[in-house]
Amino acid sequence: MKVLDLRKLVLVNGALLILLILSAAACTLLGPVRLDLSHALSHLFSSNADTEILLRARLPRVLLGIAIGGGMAACGVVLQALLGNPLACPQMLGVSGGASLGGILGIIFFPNWLLPIAGGRLGEISWIPLAAFLGALLSMILVYRFSLFHGRLHPYHLLLSGVILNSFIAAVIMFLNSIVDFYQAQGLLFWLMGSLSTRAYLTVGFIWFYIAVGFLWLWSKGLSLNLITLGEDAAMHLGVEPGALQGQVFIAASLMIGAMVSVSGVIGFVGLMVPHVMRLLIGSDHRLLLPASFLAGGIFLCWADTLARILLAPAELPVGIVTAFFGGPFFLFLLYREGRRSLAL
């Protein structure tokens, strides 16, 4: 009987963790400009181009990519379990749509507002990500209210409200796109296609903390997530209270997605593809699937961002385009090879 045991858990995650560290190192060293690593390392504390490229321009991006790739993948896993559908993705819940709309409204109406942190001592952050997060929260509350019946979130209603909210938001964004000027239009594109461009370690640190907490909480619910995929009734028979679990998971995932989109715009495909690929490779037990998907998502987005920087150098592609462009065919290839054997569709 081949089931999940500690050995498999450690082996798979260990291997992925090593891959992740190697990818992070590689992606920090790769880019459209040449980096003289020895020079950078030997002059770590003086201001020179190599050190700045390494530590200020590249490393924060790589770290952010790992957090967001991992976070998106983990949210994809739990949303697929929540909706009982292996083809659900984080974008479906309307939360990322709300976040992008909030961000876009921020770009149009108050692009220069800044909020001082800790009385200005820790710097300032733009109001735009805050507006985006607010948008995410509002969407979450809206979808939650529309899907709550008799104290339970019905997957069907969740999906429906999410899709409808997304369509509505897409229409609003389309309208805004037609009335903004050229410069604002560039900002819109960033939100809709995503970018990991950042130099702020404060932001990266905050997102890491946030995502780590969220992910650990979700991982602790791994067993319950297994049970909920059997159906609400079966889950109840096996000791899970589906209503409470669904509500908590939905809120946790929405908060995570909201924060991620607020910082990097909408990066699609990771949340759909990575869980699926991992499921094909290691099975559906969420206790393994969650950490494995997190690590795999981090690896994937890390490389996607590197490609985004290199492919059309010196221009930087929106990373969402790279994830879709390379993720899609690879996913299809994997489906073709493995799918008939293991997909439950």
């Binding site: 089931v3 619910k221 791994g222 995929t229 059997l230 009734d233 099975g283 037990d285 997909l343 439950a344």
Partner: protein, 259 residues
């Protein structure tokens, strides 16, 4: 002691009433078969017993109100085999059975050796060990059903509820399942309540039959008492001839179609 007891239980799906004033008690170690046409409320009643639905009226499990149990406790008391097993994700049969052990270990821990043993034994009892590592969606309806029964057994329940457990099984496995239920009842004192559609098999294997009609208990008792030609005609709307089979002395139906 009463395993399950209800008093004037009523239940409606929205405005559609399904159960009217059901009062019954099932003692520990009893084996009860529920009969009745579709829509008579069999599945609904099972769902209320297992705590999935809540109706009006009292439901007591082991002489305590059902509301006083939490889900985990209920899942250690009850195991349910549903009519249809629809799983959207690729799990192996072994993984499915092992999920039955969920309420016996911490959610943060993996299954231990004992859990694996119980799962193995359960699969062995339902003759499903051979396809333990195959994906559930690759199995036939009958094989899936046996895996589900194995999962229910892995829960080591005191009360086993089954909703048409033989629905997709071939003859050999139908008999096997009922023989297994009988053995579990006799050897382990497992209380069993099963909704059934095959009246003859119900009569053969179940010492007590509950016949539901339109959400009410029509007859309740031993097969010889409750299975009469008149009852069958009232409940199912068909004419039959009832004879007691010589070997076991149980009433068996012989159909008398109009043609």
């Amino acid at each position: 002691m009463n395993a399950i007891q209800t008093d004037n239980l009523t239940f409606s799906y929205g405005v559609r009433p399904v159960l009217h004033g059901i009062s019954l008690s099932v003692r520990s170690g009893e084996m009860v078969g529920m009969l009745g046409p579709n829509g008579s409320g069999k599945t609904t009643l099972l769902k209320i017993f297992s705590g999935v639905l809540r109706g009006e009226g009292e439901v007591r499990i082991k002489d305590k109100q059902i509301e006083s149990y939490n889900r985990r406790e209920l899942s250690q008391l009850f195991a349910v085999v549903q009519q249809e097993a629809r799983v959207n994700f690729p799990y192996s049969a072994a993984e499915i059975v092992l999920m039955g052990r969920a309420s016996y270990h911490s959610p943060l821990a993996l299954e231990n050796q004992h859990d694996l043993e119980v799962a193995r034994t359960s699969m062995d009892l339902t003759d499903s060990l051979a396809f333990a590592d195959r994906y559930l969606h690759e199995l036939s309806g009958g094989e899936k059903q046996r895996v589900m029964i194995a999962r229910a057994l892995a829960q080591e329940p005191k009360i086993l509820l089954l909703d048409e457990p033989s629905a997709f099984l071939d003859l050999k496995h139908q008999i096997q399942v009922f023989e297994l239920l009988l053995r579990l009842n006799r050897e382990r004192g497992l209380t069993i309540i099963a909704a059934l559609h095959d009246v003859n098999l119900a009569a053969l294997f179940f010492p007590r039959l509950l016949i539901l009609c339109n959400g009410r208990i029509h007859r309740d008792g031993a097969p010889c008492e409750v299975l009469t030609e008149k009852t069958i005609e009232e409940v199912y709307g068909i004419r039959v001839r009832i004879e007691h089979d010589p070997t076991y002395g149980k009433p068996q139906l012989f159909f008398r179609p109009a043609a």
